[in-house]
């Protein structure tokens, strides 16, 4: 919980650092803040699970792992914002402060023990995201994306809030433990309000993690937002969202598994199909990644539908693998597009941007390949084990093998569009001339790729 307090203070501090003449200090300062928060996150690692702030927040090793993934991804993404402050009119301090504040929201979502905290966390994170999406003020698409995101997000928030109200109406409490008690003791006379409320809260959360049919905002927003924040959204929001859904379902509603599993299963299948199949047709790498992120939401939902003892571990591992691969993929895109946008403003983010990358910069090509392989779930990468563990939970549940079949078919489709990137990288001829990558980028990319390979070789390392 220390990390929440620290991040809030750091956010304000960074805000005021912005008045400094030199803007160069902001990035290192923000990185330092996140690093400190990361360390503070583990203060209670060896303690028993505990409740904080009058039972508002909860902390155990699982929530700490999720927070660690969020903070690690944030660190990597923020490191990629180098060159961000070069623009005269930019207000980097505010963006960095918003990033820090949004992390507070994410950690609150991960460890909520009270539905109020869930709502607060979701809102802090979402509002930050609306602003960051529109941060490219002169770009119409960015503005459009922000407005769309805001409108739809507000709608989803309303539905979620309505659901929370219904849950309160049914149980008389916002507290997860109390709700669990209600579900446990009244197993034969549970109010319909509770079912409706749960469904609406779930819908609100599923919107945030872009599950079909609530995914429509994703491609437009991912496409319109500046690439750094697309990376931020697709890693941190997703991880926090899934941690929250897991916490909600496992914390209060395990008793009525028979009610919600089928709804979740249907949404999972729809998400997998829509995400993977639509991704096939995309020409823009960013849009492809948006659909791919929808499909990965589907895999994570798969494990939530199974809801076995292994589920939390599977989600943690998958989120980590997915976040690392996504950060490196977007990192490479930024490095390539930065160069390209100097020459022409069009199509800088299409697959063609990667043509001939294998010759222009072998490092970038390698990083991109590993990341794509990991996303596709090819062995010796972390993504493989992520999928492996996820599928393992389904197998453990036993009666959901049909979902597994769909998921495997869909991951076969996934291989197609991920390999399209690799093919463009190595087999197609594009521009020539070496591509220079700033050292900062290089470090981030090497770190994330190394971790991907390391966890791919030794998945046990994370436990």
């Amino acid at each position: 919980m220390l990390s929440i307090i620290l991040l809030s203070i750091f956010g304000i501090v960074v805000l005021f650092l912005g008045f400094q003449k030199s803007k160069n200090i902001l990035l290192p300062a923000t990185l330092l803040c996140i690093a400190i928060a990361f360390a503070a996150n583990f203060v209670h690692w060896n303690d028993a699970p505990g409740l904080y702030f009058k039972e508002m927040l909860f902390e155990n090793r699982l929530t700490m792992s999720f927070s660690a993934i969020v903070l690690l991804s944030a660190f990597l993404v923020v490191a990629l914002t180098r060159g961000f402050a070069d623009d005269e009119a930019a207000q980097p301090a505010e963006y960095y402060a918003i990033i820090l504040f949004s992390l507070v929201g994410a950690i609150m979502m991960i460890g909520f023990d009270n539905l109020i905290m869930l709502f607060l966390g979701v809102e802090i994170l979402s509002v930050s995201m609306y602003v960051l999406t529109g941060s490219d003020k002169r770009n119409l698409r960015s503005n459009e994306a922000a407005l769309k995101y805001f409108l739809m997000g507000a709608f989803a928030t309303g539905i979620m809030l309505f659901g929370i109200a219904l849950l309160y109406g049914a149980t008389g409490s916002f507290n997860l433990t109390d709700i669990r008690g209600y579900v446990g003791t009244n197993s034969f006379s549970i109010s319909t309000l509770l079912y409706v409320g749960l469904l609406l809260v779930l819908i609100g959360m599923l919107f945030k993690v872009s599950a079909a049919p609530f995914h429509f905002w994703t491609p437009d927003v991912y496409d319109g937002a500046p690439t750094v924040f697309t990376a931020f959204m697709s890693t941190i929001v997703k991880t926090a969202g899934f941690a929250a859904i897991y916490r909600l379902l496992s914390g209060s509603f395990e008793g009525i598994y028979n009610f919600w599993w089928f709804t979740l299963a249907a949404i999972t299948i729809l998400t997998l199909v829509v995400g993977n199949i639509t991704a096939v047709y995309q020409q823009s790498f960013k849009r492809m990644m948006a659909y791919s992120s929808i499909s990965h939401a589907g895999y994570l939902l798969l494990s939530l539908t199974a809801m076995t003892a292994q589920t939390p571990d599977a989600i943690v591992f998958y989120s980590l693998a997915y976040s690392l691969a996504t950060v490196s993929a977007f990192g490479v895109l930024m490095a390539v597009a930065r160069e390209k946008s100097v020459q022409s403003h069009e199509n800088a983010e299409d697959f063609e941007a990667f043509n001939g990358l294998g010759k222009r910069n072998p490092l970038l090509a390698f990083v991109l390949t590993v990341s794509m392989l990991s996303l596709a779930g090819i062995p010796l990468t972390a993504g493989f084990w992520g999928k492996f563990f996820i599928f393992g939970t389904i197998v453990e549940r036993g009666n959901l093998i049909w979902m597994l079949i769909v998921a495997i078919l869909m991951s076969a489709v996934g291989i197609y569009y991920y390999f399209k990137v690799i093919i463009a990288t190595y087999m197609k001829d594009g521009e020539t001339g070496a591509l220079r990558v700033p050292p900062f980028y290089r470090i981030v990319l090497i770190v994330s790729t190394t971790l991907t390979l390391l966890f791919g070789l030794i998945p046990k390392l994370l436990s």
């Binding site: 304000i12 805000l15 005021f16 008045f19």
Partner: protein
């Protein structure tokens, strides 16, 4: 306390009456009133003065900023009331909390001034 569906009957009657009144009035006026359109009648009416230009004139962003900041601080200050009512009961802890809250608020206020948002002309 258990409500039976029949207990809601008065509400439904009320709802039907309200909706019915609106719908019927609209239908009736549309159908029995005469319709004579002319150029003059279609013009917007503004206190007898002739309408000029576009209604969507850009307004300085500063209006919005000041307005939104006003709402923000206004709402925050409302938190003072419940605190003042329970001042004795909350004691020193409550006082500390409120100081922290006000501190954060002031930090924000300071930031706004520093940023120059409240300077109308620059």
């Amino acid at each position: 306390m258990n409500y039976l569906p029949s207990d809601y009957l008065p509400i439904i009657v009320q709802l039907v009456l309200a909706l019915g009144f609106i719908v019927i009035t609209m239908l009736v006026t549309h159908n029995i009133g005469p319709k004579r359109n002319s150029k003059l009648k279609d013009e917007p009416f503004e206190c007898g003065i002739e309408a000029k230009g576009d209604a969507r004139t850009p307004i300085s962003i500063k209006y919005f900023l000041v307005a939104i900041l006003f709402v923000l601080f206004d709402v925050e200050v409302i938190f003072m009331y419940p605190w003042a009512v329970n001042f004795k009961k909350l004691g020193l802890f409550g006082f500390g909390e409120m100081i922290l809250f006000m501190g954060l608020l002031l930090a924000g206020f300071y930031y706004i001034i520093k940023k120059g948002v409240l300077e109308w002309e620059k």
